[in-house]
């Protein structure tokens, strides 16, 4: 077991430190599919907005404009929940597949710590957004989702091998920018959850996943 090679020793130290403290199975594909889901969802949301705007004169004529607005936002909320569930499901699926390929367990004390560090900001943030919805501050929901998602990513970034810190910072910056330019909040949301996810997922995939696959093949 004794080895006098300092390079090998340092490599081993580094490997052990990393694999025992960082969650290595996060897949870039998770990010790509989360982004695609967000884009498809945003398309449907846009359709809903267009339909609603066409119906506004009818609502006003019938004297039930407020009722129409509330119904419209409720539909948007359902759509948002559907997007969230789909994106998370894809995320878990690809991460599970990667863990299986690497012969690693998905459920470790480490992944539990990662999930807790993500869920605390997301949970409280989600309740905060429910409050915004309840009080009718619909316009603030998109910026708030960006800020909260960024904070959650930042909190979880210390347990992940890839640098999602920059993704987190971009999401928070978009959130802040969109609260000043509320007219473009929808666009900011599409960029944050759609474009940035796809961009980051692609970079991650080519930087880590592909290389690893190649490495596994060449050592077999």
């Amino acid at each position: 077991m004794t080895d006098k090679n300092p390079i090998e020793d340092l490599r081993e130290i580094r490997k052990m430190m990393e694999s025992s403290s960082k969650f290595l199975s996060l897949s870039g594909l998770s990010g790509i599919f989360a982004g695609l889901t967000a884009l498809v969802g945003a398309y449907f949301a846009y359709q809903q907005i267009m339909t609603f705007e066409k119906k506004i004169p009818f609502y006003i004529a019938q004297g039930r404009f407020e009722e129409g607005v509330n119904e419209f936002y409720f539909q948007l909320l359902l759509l948002a929940i559907l997007i969230l569930v789909t994106a998370i499901s894809f995320g878990i699926l690809f991460t599970w597949l990667k863990a299986k390929r690497q012969n690693k367990k998905l459920w470790t004390p480490l992944s539990l710590r990662l999930i807790i560090s993500l869920m605390v900001p997301l949970g409280f943030g989600g309740l905060f957004i429910a409050g915004l919805f309840y009080n009718g501050f619909y316009i603030l929901i998109a910026p708030t989702t960006l800020i909260i998602y960024g904070l959650a990513l930042l909190n979880g970034s210390k347990y992940v091998h890839v640098d999602i810190k920059y993704l987190a910072l971009c999401q928070m910056a978009l959130g802040v920018a969109s609260v000043f330019f509320l007219d473009h909040a929808f666009l900011a949301w599409v960029i944050g959850f759609g474009v940035l996810h796809i961009l980051y997922g692609t970079i991650m995939y080519f930087k880590y996943d592909r290389k690893q696959k190649f490495w596994v093949e060449s050592t077999n």
């Binding site: 077991m1 300092p6 052990m16 430190m17 025992s20």
Partner: protein
């Protein structure tokens, strides 16, 4: 090279290197988690752990979680210092090539 730059004999084996590396970046670490992380048998791991314990580089905590015993380990201040200077010595050795 002065005394402080010398490699620590206690960390010569890969297993001990692994144990110390893991404890440098994790707080309390379970025995079971060590076994999985380092892919070792009980006998092998236990002897290295008790070796490090005797040197007071790590401390042990035994407790019950429900009805099961749980043994976990933590690095001591001394262990941290010694491991750090071991890494420094390794680096110095590399740079001297």
């Amino acid at each position: 090279m002065g005394r402080i730059d010398q490699l620590n004999k206690a960390f010569e084996s890969r297993v001990r290197l692994g144990i110390m590396s893991i404890l440098m970046v994790n707080d309390w670490m379970d025995y079971k988690a060590f076994k999985e992380q380092l892919d070792l048998t009980d006998g092998n791991l236990a002897s290295h752990i008790s070796g490090l314990e005797k040197l007071e580089y790590i401390t042990v905590r035994k407790r019950f979680i429900g009805k099961k015993t749980n043994t976990s380990y933590k690095i001591t201040a001394l262990g941290k210092r010694e491991f750090q200077s071991h890494i420094n010595a390794l680096e110095k050795l590399l740079n001297s090539f």
